[in-house]
């Protein structure tokens, strides 16, 4: 779909959620390269509502054929619940679950001021925000899969990612991945605390402006689970190039106020590498199918996927 057609469809669609009294004009569009699971368009809008003429900058986040193994349903529900509770999350303006309008489901949210580049000045506040997320009450959350008793937090994540991989295999399975998944099933720890989990936290996935965090972004992997899932992801995935492992652990323990169980933390490190390997497999399937011919999918299907597999094997088998 070309830009003119996309703008025409989006303009008409946004009239109702924006409560526009006339038409909505898209005056500028900028597609950003960050974020591989969604096509991200920053849009400048002009329209009138009951208060008069106005301009508004929004972001349209369009799914990409299930790329990286997630859809927008949990993401939008989670963002709306968190925004309503005062957590720093963008306001979701509209969510289109069908692919009728743009060929893929999408949602539109308010643009939030800030940059996602790493800034050590905001690291403490970020860890605090993540700990606050892990401390929110979850009794009223009915839109996420509940965690089973026993080893549910770990086993559900292992099976979630394994199934994502398995349903996107191209021709042959990966023996090392199959073995690593079994290793993790056999060593799943019992549940500790069950909390909201971001699922993809760390530098690059929060915005900051003038030294303060303005929003946590990319909620597509939000789920109920073990907060160690997030801590491990922060330390060894997104935060690995920002601070050392020891620096992150020291920071987390000081701000969250509890000692980290290093054995549990290392288990979740391996689960996060498994996640990376498995969601990258979706790129291979989608690229080979031709659903999305973009070369970033080839890169994720090959180099990114293999690098994650190497790290998974180094973590599990050494």
């Amino acid at each position: 779909m070309n830009q003119a057609e996309r703008h025409k469809r989006l303009s008409g669609y946004l009239v109702e959620p924006l409560q526009a009294t006339g038409g909505v004009s898209i005056t500028a569009e900028h597609r950003i390269a960050m974020g591989q699971s969604r096509a991200m368009y920053i849009l400048d809008l002009e329209y009138s509502d009951v208060s008069g003429p106005r301009t508004r900058r929004v972001v349209a986040r369009v799914e990409q054929h299930g790329h990286l193994g997630s859809d927008s349903r949990d993401e939008v529900a989670g963002m709306r619940a968190l925004h309503a509770s005062g957590f720093p999350v963008a306001n979701v303006i509209a969510y289109e679950e069908s692919d009728a309008l743009l060929g893929q489901p999408f949602f539109v949210m308010d643009f939030v001021e800030g940059v996602s580049t790493w800034s050590e000045d905001t690291a403490d506040e970020y860890v605090l925000r993540l700990h606050e997320l892990h401390s929110l009450p979850i009794d009223d959350i009915d839109f996420l899969e509940p965690v089973s008793d026993g080893k549910g937090a770990a086993l559900q994540e292992v099976e979630r990612w394994y199934n994502t991989y398995h349903t996107h295999i191209v021709d042959e399975p990966s023996p090392l991945l199959e073995e690593a998944a079994q290793y993790l099933r056999n060593r799943a720890p019992d549940n500790d605390r069950v909390t909201l989990v971001h699922g993809d936290p760390g530098p690059g996935n929060y915005l900051h402006h003038e030294g303060r965090i303005t929003a946590l972004v990319d909620w597509e992997f939000i789920h109920l689970g073990d907060p160690y899932d997030d801590w491990a992801y922060l330390i060894w995935m997104r935060g690995a190039h920002a601070l050392t492992e020891d620096q992150w652990i020291e920071k987390i323990e000081a701000i969250a106020g509890y000692r980290l169980d290093l054995e549990r933390l290392h288990y979740w490190k391996a689960v996060n590498f498994l996640m990376g390997v498995c969601i990258d497999q979706t790129s291979h399937r989608i690229y080979v199918d031709g659903s999305n011919p973009a070369p970033n999918l080839l890169a994720i299907a090959t180099g990114v996927h293999l690098s994650a597999l190497k790290r998974l094997c180094d973590t599990v088998f050494d």
Binding site: H30, R31, I32, A33, M34, E172, P173, S174, P175, L176, E178, E179, Q182, Y183, N186, A294, P295, N296, L298, A299, I300, T302, G303, V304, L306, S307, L309, K310, C313, F317
Partner: protein, 148 residues
Amino acid sequence: MTLPVPPSTEIILRNSIATVRDVLLPAVGDDEWAKFNAGLLEGALQYALESLSEDRAGSHRQHLAEALGGLADRVKTEGDASLQLALEIESPFEAASAVLIWVQNNPGTLADDLQQVLHAELFAQLDEELKAAMPIMGAFQRGMRGDL
């Protein structure tokens, strides 16, 4: 026949890389998404070019089958029924998967020995594929850094 010797795939890919690098990439200006894709396209074509000279998939399949074949006698004498069935699977990748899952569920000397043989072959294949993917991986990393 007006073209008795058509241009080789290698020549086409090599020249396409030069065109993407020297013509398209400089022409996309400040369009972040277009620049990201042009850079990746150059890497993708390089990856394809360097994959032309060898059938890595066929080689991986053959070498893994040979590694599994080398385990057959040991599995026949020491393995249980499920392990023996695993070795009978036609696809070497599926067979190796089944054997390595068995290894995880049946720790011991036999499991250690099977794992050692299969890991040696599979890690060699992993390293070879990682090396082959360097052109596209490098382009992706540069693109994510905004360094194209």
